[in-house]
Symmetry: C2
Subunit: 229 residues, 2 copies
DNA sequence: ACCTGAACACCGTTCAAGT
DNA sequence: ACCTGAACACCGTTCAAGT
């Protein structure tokens, strides 16, 4: 009978590391995961450097060995979320439908992460691999739909701008257009707000998003048709 | 010879107030003006409660006799700026042109005030008179162009969402789409960025804004035409 | 009614000192 | 190389005390 190895004794594969405290090694992946968990559970006001450090059983100053600022942490989270944006339609569906599906997915992901919108809109994509991957898939979809190279980035930026604004609107309170005591000064507006009508299954934000997205996609398609004619 | 009045003695028009320190009375108007001046000169990072108080020669805690939070101050500034958005075209120009001029003005005003975008997008308009006035003028313009009441708010929200996102884009750095070391992973995107072409007199942000705005306005006009046919 | 001054409970970030 | 602990320079907000 061969000797039964005693657990943890004499069978170590990395003898030099014995006796280490049971803490996960800190790195971008661990920091990103912890930040995402914190934000998902408690929201962005809970995402502080000390809160993040505590969730990793580490001192706040330890984080600065791996990131250079809180902005860095936000960029890590942003890039991780960008991987959740669905671009699959660009290889499987006609351009108009693909754009609509992508825009919906993009809005849905970031409507729960509003503080990241300035990060996406203002920070270079350099060193944000998942973000670059998303742009590559979208650009590829535009190219295969016949878009001229020079117009693609402007079209993407325009759609993205609409997506960002719409992500805010998802979080608007139901009474955002309540005029209150100033109702008399704005009769037409107040009436239009009261009569706002949405298609079945659409809340206010979804209805406005669908209307604007349909309009912009149709308008862009018309632009493309006249440019390539 | 009549007696020459001695300055400040015997000629007081408000005797009860003699000896007051020469400080402007605090109120919403004074706070708004001071906040706007601070932001225009030094940017939003300089708009702190203590900085604002200092510019008014007052203790920070004194501000809380007139506003209940910093959010309140931001709402005052937002409403003041909303008065600068040009809605005059809605009474002077056809709908499509009016919408374009309004959207341009709206974007231009708030591209210099990005921190106010969440305020506009998420806070009720109640007690924001200039904001309500703007919406009234826009709604009126839509009505006179033949828009059905039920669709107007959704159309305005869609246009506004695009304006907000585009206001961010105005502040994007020129190298926002620089792929850096990850260039090889995104050849189509990198090429499209390099070949991005803009009409004469347009920078990147202006070109994307014009493209998206033209598309959305054309799409909305088509929507309207088919709905009222 | 409106102000001051002190205090509170936080922030992000730096840095000497340890291992 | 990577961590700790203390410190720094701030934040927004509250509140007793004054006038």
């Amino acid at each position: 009978m061969p000797p039964v190895p005693v657990k943890g004794v004499g069978t170590k594969t990395a003898p030099r590391r014995a006796g280490r405290p049971p803490r996960a090694l800190l790195g971008h992946a661990q920091i990103t995961r912890a930040a995402l968990r914190l934000v998902t559970r408690d929201g962005y006001k809970a995402l502080t450097m000390s809160g993040l450090a505590k969730s990793l059983n580490v001192a706040p100053s330890a984080l600065y060995n791996h990131v250079s600022s809180k902005q860095d942490v936000l960029l890590l989270v942003e890039d991780a979320l960008m991987g959740r944006v669905d671009v699959s339609a660009f290889t499987e569906r006609p351009w108009e439908e693909a754009v609509r599906l992508w825009a919906h997915s993009y809005r849905d992901v970031f409507s729960a992460h509003l503080p990241l919108i300035p990060v996406i809109a203002l920070l270079p994509v350099t060193n944000a691999p998942q973000t670059i991957t998303m742009y590559e898939a979208v650009t590829d979809g535009f190219l295969r739909a016949g878009w001229p190279q020079e117009r693609i980035i402007n079209a993407i930026v325009a759609l993205e701008s609409f997506v960002f604004g719409s992500a805010y609107d998802v979080n608007a309170p139901g009474d955002i257009f309540a005029t209150g005591e100033l109702e008399d000064a704005a009769p037409h507006f107040t009436a239009a707000v009261a009569r706002r009508g949405n298609p079945a299954g659409h809340n206010d934000a979804d209805a406005a998003f669908a209307l604007g997205l349909d309009a912009m996609v149709a308008g862009l398609a018309a632009t493309l048709a006249s440019a390539t004619r």
